[in-house]
Symmetry: C2
Subunit: 449 residues, 2 copies
Amino acid sequence: MERQPSKIGPELRGMLQEGKAEDIKAFLKDQHPYDIAEFIGSLEPHEIARIVLILGDPRGPDAFQKLDTDLQVEVLLEMPRREGARLMEDMDPDERVDLLKALPGEEAEKVIPLIAQAERNEIARLADYEEGTAGSVMTTEYVAVSGDLTVAEALSELRRIAPDRETIYNVFVLDDDRKLIGVITLKNLFILPSLAKVKDVMKSDAKSVSVGDDVEDVARVVRDYDLISVPAVDESDRLVGIVTVDDVVDVFEEEATEDIYRYGAAGEPLRYLPSSPLSLARQRVPWLILLAAVGFISGAIIHRYEAAITSVFALAVFIPVINASGGNAGTQASTVIIRSLATGEVSLSDSLRIFWKEIVVGLSMGVVVGLVGALRGYLMENSIRLAVTVGLAMVSVVLLATVMGAVLPLIFKKIKLDPAVVSGPFIASVLDVVALLIYLELARYMLNI
Amino acid sequence: MERQPSKIGPELRGMLQEGKAEDIKAFLKDQHPYDIAEFIGSLEPHEIARIVLILGDPRGPDAFQKLDTDLQVEVLLEMPRREGARLMEDMDPDERVDLLKALPGEEAEKVIPLIAQAERNEIARLADYEEGTAGSVMTTEYVAVSGDLTVAEALSELRRIAPDRETIYNVFVLDDDRKLIGVITLKNLFILPSLAKVKDVMKSDAKSVSVGDDVEDVARVVRDYDLISVPAVDESDRLVGIVTVDDVVDVFEEEATEDIYRYGAAGEPLRYLPSSPLSLARQRVPWLILLAAVGFISGAIIHRYEAAITSVFALAVFIPVINASGGNAGTQASTVIIRSLATGEVSLSDSLRIFWKEIVVGLSMGVVVGLVGALRGYLMENSIRLAVTVGLAMVSVVLLATVMGAVLPLIFKKIKLDPAVVSGPFIASVLDVVALLIYLELARYMLNI
């Protein structure tokens, strides 16, 4: 597991400059495409282009498609267009479509006609599926057989087509209309009697998804049923592709990343190291300004209560802790609910249970924190009234924050927005406003100011 | 994909009460273990126990091990001990060890002697591995052959042992000392000449991991190399188990959940629906109290500057926006860095680059937000001095927050703490203190108070 891509990159550059194509080939012959991509990823696009072409099929395209899509585009633009088209023909269908979608429009128009007809049809078919659907991540390199074959016939058919397929471990069984009627694992084909008909021994209620299904739901099916791949069918139940578990792993990671970024109000994820500081700042600054604007509202409230605060300055001293308690309790609750929604542990139908539960959670936490606050209030000014004000304010703010933190993500989900947009900073800022109003109004009443 | 577990549970309960064991068997015959677990998961433990026993091997244990471990324990305690031992014998080795570890000590002591010797040895072997290592999630149901076999011999050996194994698609090749010398996929065995020796056609530099490796690192290897399983070896390179991709999917999800909870300062994850409100509150309240304590420090600072604030009350009005800007900029930066560390996109060796980058990011965001703040300051009091104070405070607070938010997770990682502990609420609270000090000290200087 030792890899030092940082040292190998320059070494490859050296070989390239000395024109030692054969050395490069020999050196990378036994490397995994992922490692090759790591090695060459730090080189200049024109150097990467040359190495990919030197490697040839299948090593070149395999390594090439492990590069980030942005880099793939840069590398492709460095290649003679005809070579680029050949390279694209040899890519996996789903990766190829991703690359084409990322290419500048005019370049795509010029390269597509150079791609062989079969792959071009494939592209047309896959490019139709919307981003984020099963269709957009599926591959068409599955294996399928007719249910009328015997197990032995199916095995020899598989042996014939296996070399061209990404995975052959789930064998899909189709009827004459290419409708999916079942699935059988290679393992079972392997151990079942060779004269049995496939359709008699297959699993007929195979899990399948629709090409239009949300890729997160597809990922959940693969996770729950421990699948290596799941078939995707069109509206007439015809098999059009499969989503493999390695794509699902990527989906789970990307979704978690997106959620975490939204949740930290950090904008959409960018690749960190290659991005310029200004583009990183551009992702974050809109949220910062928006949340500053909410801060101005809190400021306006403090302004309105100027008389009360200047007459009992101790009130100002407790503003940070009351704001913090509200913001943090809200962040905690929304964290728990957003994540539970994302993993499928709770769903919208649990909303009422969540609501009641969080009331009890919020109240019990509020009482604990409120007692601490009241004690601090009493010790500071020796005033029971201040103590009660601070304590009551903390109880109600923590209760309200907890319930809001839990309910807002549910409402967002209900109206089909991403619950993760109810970010920690967002909840905290909004709760600052509410907490100040509750606290200062309560103070005016309790302290007669 | 339509499932309504909520309706099927009561139906099964009815059959159980009428003693229709055969109906239950027939009804669940073709269901996937995951679905069966969903159906029976809402029943009482003693009902689940009866259904699992009715189903028998392999359906019963397969469904049983899809239940949450806590529930497995409750169900097992409802079974006659001998039946429980039989059930455990039929579980997957890694699931079995997890269950045993969760059992109350005395119960484990009573049930272990009833388990067959072979499985007992297995347990002893697996139970030794520390939580969170490859050894703790691996299974021992892999397939391995000697490198001296021919392809045809290997295939017939596979055919013989396949029925008992979780996965047969990666075939591991061992020498006489059970040392791992290579791997070959079933797909390749399938298409290669049948008389070739396995050791001549296998992939000899197979990716492997150590049993003691962190399971997150193992998951990353599986993800990067698109593996279905990865072999785990002991210190003398002997194959002891494999980690399969379905476990890896779970690892990624659990790790993301843990990180998100830590990051929201929400304590350790609990299963939401089955947990009582008080146990949920108990997870969250320590953080709330800790962060409230930090809030008291902020309060003490405000107290110290009472004279300044009461003489220019506008200063108090800008406290929320300055705190919010610091807290949010810090949260954003730490979000980006924590997540990039978790996915492996950046590592500690990038620390210096990150530091410089975030200085530029923080400065440019600070200038934008600072201008907004200064404008608001000027409009409010018509005072250039207040405007400059607010603006400068915001620039320095945002800059400092951004750099701290990025650097703290790196420091935590460096001293081998989880970077995700640098939670949003934590960063925000600490920055409140720092921001207040900067702002109020600056104000005292700028406004001569």
